[in-house]
Symmetry: C2
Subunit: 358 residues, 2 copies
Amino acid sequence: MALYSHDELHTFSQSVFKKIGCSAKDAKIAADTLLSADLRGVDSHGVARLSGYVRLWEKGRINPNPAIKIVHETPSTAVVDGDAGLGLVVAPFAMQIAIEKANIAGTGWVAVKNSNHYGIAGYHAMQALDHDMIGISMTNASPLVSPTFSKERLLGTNPIAVAIPANEEPPYVGDFATTTAANGKLEILQRKGEEAPEGWIQNKEGEVTTNAFGVKEGGALRPLGGDRSNGSHKGYILGSMVDIFSAVLSGANYGPWAPPFVSFMDPVSDPVGEGLGHFMGAMRVDAFRPADEFKDNMDQWIQRFKNSAPIDPEQKVLIPGDPEREMEAIRMKDGIPLLEAVRNDLSALGEKFDIPFQ
Amino acid sequence: MALYSHDELHTFSQSVFKKIGCSAKDAKIAADTLLSADLRGVDSHGVARLSGYVRLWEKGRINPNPAIKIVHETPSTAVVDGDAGLGLVVAPFAMQIAIEKANIAGTGWVAVKNSNHYGIAGYHAMQALDHDMIGISMTNASPLVSPTFSKERLLGTNPIAVAIPANEEPPYVGDFATTTAANGKLEILQRKGEEAPEGWIQNKEGEVTTNAFGVKEGGALRPLGGDRSNGSHKGYILGSMVDIFSAVLSGANYGPWAPPFVSFMDPVSDPVGEGLGHFMGAMRVDAFRPADEFKDNMDQWIQRFKNSAPIDPEQKVLIPGDPEREMEAIRMKDGIPLLEAVRNDLSALGEKFDIPFQ
């Protein structure tokens, strides 16, 4: 696969965001958020989605110059109206508010309405780390997931991310979809022509299927756990908790009313709120304990888990965030690999906006 | 199975707690917490554990008259030192602080150290409901769970509960262990002589086993997801997040250092903190939106999910908390069934403390 430097993809993305009308400042924020996915190896959420955001803008569903504002607040909470802006820009704004609240009140919790897809959850949570805070980020998303026992798609893959600072050790960064597998993993199987493991997908009738195209053919992703006996009701609780915190607390569209990311599907005609929702949190570590004591304990936690006896001597126990950080170091140095389909997509965008891309 | 009224089991438990030295007030709080499990059908966490708490007291590991206190606080946070008290009493104290903080700052977050087993997570989260708040509760626990790729037991079943108020509809109450299956489910299989589904347990070497005694024989429970391809790394993130929030933020013992519930296993000789940890949260709904608007939306959310098309017409889609609430209504009316082993256990306690039980 052809390799592209972070800087060239960042510059290109920034130019595209400017062309759709974003301010220079917002275009940079959006490109930072987007590229963090490519660097961390979450290829489904990086520049591969750039043309998707552009198509949403073409449909009038993204406001490139939003007046993002706080519409309600208390010492430790706020609700942010994203004014239909890019989630890539709205979410960093909201996380900044959460951090400011935490500075004063110990913690800050911001529910966001009237937003759009916000990139990878982990990036937003990680903004808290430099402030010696724990960061939390979640979002609702296009309905593709059926609750346990249902054959309807009522929830998104609704990710949760949590970033926790340590001292000598790199931070702990968990970031996961509340389904057995994220949609991006299915796309990989589809491209390879492989089957999906049992527990990932159900077909239109709600029966387990290994057909990697099952969701496209009217089926649904299953909540983490896969089936009732393996705890899918727990994944359903997690996904619905994310939906309620992100969208009911904020006044966004929840459950099956959540607007689809793909531009060829129109949002529902009977919305129950405004746009998509997120929920961001920041907790100052020293609102609980002296930061150094906490971070020393996190070092010990991380070392104990990392060095625990592995089942297979070749596969060490992982600390959440380590694989992504290693990927980031490699891709910063060697470049970011892009599939031909993605390169073609970016070339077409380049032609449309008269920005060179090769 | 013999049926016992809630009131007689509550009175009996209260008497036992008084006999080990609890004040009348604390004995009532402990019995309230304990019996909530029996009522809600979580039989493993109710009076079946009463003798376990007594044995911990006999070992000097439970202080029946703790001076529970706040040792650090900010407008939205506190750390509570449970002074080695019953978690059944310490956790309600901490949740009350969270609610008071939320009244003033919008949200309240309380990390607890130096505590013991706190009963069912859901009971504590539900204390927020009457205040039009969302309640959150989690705790670390005896190490019985291996992270993905590890053959060591480093985490507890570390449950998460979230309680969310609605208007006409009963509240949403999610309460789940972050493992594929809770330990109580294994005990049921053991009694019936049945095998466990694949994904619940690994043996001492870390291999998947269906032997329901696998954990007792040196194996471990697996995180929600069961194996890597079905997302066990996500269950590992959830379990470790609970561990870090409950025990690293508070200064309790984390990971494999968490004190075991069973009295025949001594706590580690090299503790990294004090006792067991919990983490409780309360978020005032109207710190985000007018409470009635939020609760009306929750009604709509619940109705939409409950009435979604089921896979099997005989099995409707469930709302988290509904089965437990229905069970509570039945058991309040008809009584609480106790297994012979539990009855014998309570009889022995009755004899020890000279309190009649039959």
